[in-house]
């Protein structure tokens, strides 16, 4: 190759890379622009509600939606939400339901997974078919008839109705446990069996403790789903004093009518626990939901 040719080649490649780089830079800018716009779309509606929650009733009704509150430390709307909106009872009820439905789901899900994975029995295919087909039945459609079942047990308008429903219809967590339990070597079970442990001891002392990561996943998914659920408490617990976070917030609509500062405070109160949890457990939450949705 002659020197002239070489120089020409280098120049061309230099100008090529430069063009590519410039195009790359414009592309990069556009990408960041789209990300910033998306972030604004997510944040704007939420921050406006946060701003409104700090306004006085006069500021909220007179000023524009994007105006700033006069006093940034005006938490009186939150106090109103707690006192008149019964948010404290609501958080209590939700905590009660969460505690029982999550522990129930964890125990039931892990037991089912253990039985299905570690034993061979005649109707195994049938049992799995039952669980599999149940995933296809959307819960919202069957409530008309589920309601009658719950009612016939005398559970209507008690906190046990949602607890039982959350426990009994959670197939996703069974899948999460099933996938995890397969990774636990059977030799552990066998060694314990040789030492004289029966199946319950094996489940309780060996399998269950090893399931911790799966339990964490189930607790997170189930926790957020139950915390956010509106349909079931709305249908099964109409009593005022049995409001959960969702239904208590829903009832803000009536008495607070156009008092957006109070409604906003209620909404922010409900969002804050989720936000805190998300900030601390981000990684687990992504994985958990990805696992839960794809089953």
């Amino acid at each position: 190759m002659t020197t002239a040719q070489q120089t020409a080649a280098t120049t061309r490649s230099v100008s090529d890379t430069r063009r590519v780089r410039r195009r790359g830079r414009i592309g990069q800018t556009l990408i960041y622009l789209s990300l910033v716009i998306a972030s604004l779309v997510v944040l704007l509606p939420l921050s406006v509600v946060f701003l409104t929650s700090l306004k006085t009733s006069k500021e909220a009704s007179d000023g524009g939606a994007l105006s700033l509150p006069g006093n940034w430390l005006n938490f009186s709307n939150y106090a109103t939400a707690f006192s008149d909106g019964a948010m404290l009872t609501a958080f209590g009820n939700t905590a009660f339901i969460l505690l029982f439905s999550i522990s129930g789901t964890v125990i039931i899900g892990s037991m089912t997974a253990y039985a299905i994975d570690r034993f061979h029995f005649r109707a195994k295919k049938l049992v799995m078919g039952l669980f599999l087909i149940a995933t296809l039945v959307p819960g919202v459609t069957t409530q008309v008839a589920t309601f009658q079942v719950v009612n016939s047990f005398g559970l209507f308008d008690t906190r046990w109705a949602p607890i039982l429903l959350y426990m009994g219809t959670d197939i996703v967590s069974i899948y999460v446990f099933l996938q995890f339990i397969r990774g636990i070597p059977v030799s552990l079970d066998e060694a314990a069996r040789l030492d004289g442990a029966n199946s319950f001891t094996i489940y309780r002392k060996i399998i269950f403790p090893l399931l911790k990561p799966a339990i964490a996943t189930v607790v997170i998914i189930k926790g957020i789903t139950v915390y956010n659920d509106f349909y079931i408490p709305f249908l099964y617990m109409p009593s005022q004093e049995l409001g959960t976070v969702s239904t208590a917030l829903f009832r803000f609509k009536g008495p607070f009518g156009a008092h957006w500062e109070n409604i906003s405070a209620g909404a922010v109160l409900v969002i804050i626990p989720t936000l805190v949890l998300f900030l601390f457990l981000q990684r687990y939450i992504y994985n958990g939901f990805a696992q839960g949705a794809t089953k």
């Binding site: 592309g27 789209s34 990300l35 998306a38 972030s39 997510v42 509606p45 406006v48 509600v49 939606a65 994007l66 039931i108 899900g109 037991m111 039985a115 299905i116 994975d117 570690r118 034993f119 029995f121 005649r122 049992v127 039952l130 149940a134 039945v137 959307p138 919202v140 459609t141 069957t142 409530q143 008309v144 008839a145 009658q148 079942v149 039982l164 009994g168 219809t169 069974i174 079970d189 066998e190 069996r193 199946s199 489940y203 956010n228 509106f230 349909y231 976070v245 917030l249 409604i263 906003s264 409900v270 969002i271 989720t274 998300f278 939450i285 992504y286 939901f289 990805a290 949705a293 089953k295």
Partner: protein
């Protein structure tokens, strides 16, 4: 797959002849020495499965069975007597236009899901490359999915209100409108479908991102060495590997848009033509005490969703149905 118990018992009683054959091992099982221990061993899985199965049957299969039965009666949900009316409820659903019309509202949500999947796909692709503030953007895009539905409903009621967030932003950029966003059916349904995009894009996004990130990095490097552009990388590397997740998202989107309830119920209560199939069913059952008719509606919805799932399983047979 494990065969602990089986293997153990077969080992112990290998010498004993038997008539019973177990499917799993294909080896003989003992016939004599039916001790308590053995019975217990056979019953063990059922002891573990008792509670889950009782719950499953009570709260899923009994309701489905009852629902099918109610759908052929004129029951009001309270009175002890109910009359068998044959297929009358089904005839009503398909012939009374005001009952059937709610199906068309689903199309707004279906269109929204298309937008939602496209947006999620775009951001998942973009954020799978190394970018500054990547985790921040990822968190921001996903967070709406975690928020309580009632809170979202209120946030967006304020957003769409007269002089609310949207109007203020529009007047900021110089567009003055006194359009009542939730005032007429078309605008209201579009707005509500928009809220559903806002809420659910995050889930699709995280699913797609997970699938994209499971692609080995060498593939991109090799493609880059061969001079592939980003679009080509997307077309030939990313797109094929997210196909399963994509098809799952599409099915979830279709069945989801048929079963929309929360957002419209909280925001408009189903007024101004925003009622969906589920809202109507709930109202029929619990406000108008037409349990029979509501059950028929629910059965129709259930059948449609089963049909869609069946079609999907046929189209994408290698889906993750690897239960055992």
């Amino acid at each position: 797959m494990t065969k602990t118990t089986e293997v153990a018992s077969v080992k112990t009683h290998r010498a004993v002849t038997s008539r019973r054959r177990t499917k799993a091992s294909g080896t003989s099982h003992p016939q004599g020495r039916r001790t308590w221990g053995q019975l217990l061993r056979r019953a063990t899985p059922w002891l573990f499965l008792a509670a889950p199965l009782v719950l499953l049957i009570t709260f899923t299969y009994v309701p489905v069975g009852n629902m099918i039965y109610y759908s052929f009666t004129d029951w009001d949900g309270i009175s002890p007597d109910r009359n068998f009316t044959g297929a009358d409820n089904y005839v009503q659903i398909f012939t009374r236009p005001e009952l059937f019309r709610v199906f068309f509202v689903s199309f707004y949500y279906l269109a929204a899901s298309v937008a939602q999947i496209a947006i999620a796909l775009y951001f998942a692709t973009v954020l799978s490359f190394d970018l500054r503030f990547r985790n921040l953007f990822k968190g921001l895009l996903f967070f709406p999915y975690l928020i309580n539905g009632v809170a979202i409903g209120f946030v967006f009621l304020y957003f769409f209100q007269d002089g609310g967030t949207l109007d203020s932003v529009l007047s900021w950029v110089g567009v003055d409108t006194d359009h009542a966003w939730l005032g007429d059916p078309e605008s209201a349904n579009t707005s509500l479908a928009g809220v559903s995009v806002w809420r659910f894009t995050g889930l699709n996004f995280v699913l797609f991102l997970g699938a994209i990130q499971s692609i080995p990095g060498e593939l991109y490097e090799a493609a880059q060495l061969d001079g592939a552009t980003r679009w080509q990388q997307f077309r030939h590397i990313i797109a094929p590997s997210i196909r399963p997740v994509l098809s799952l998202s599409i099915i979830l989107a279709i069945s989801g848009s048929l079963a929309v309830f929360e957002i419209p119920y909280i925001m408009t209560g189903g007024a101004t033509g925003t009622s969906t199939f589920v809202i109507q069913t709930v109202k029929l059952a619990f406000q108008f005490n037409k349990t029979g008719l509501a059950s028929a509606a629910a059965v129709v919805l259930l059948l449609i969703i089963l049909l869609i799932t069946w079609i999907q399983r046929r189209l994408v047979p290698d889906e993750k149905v690897d239960l055992v």
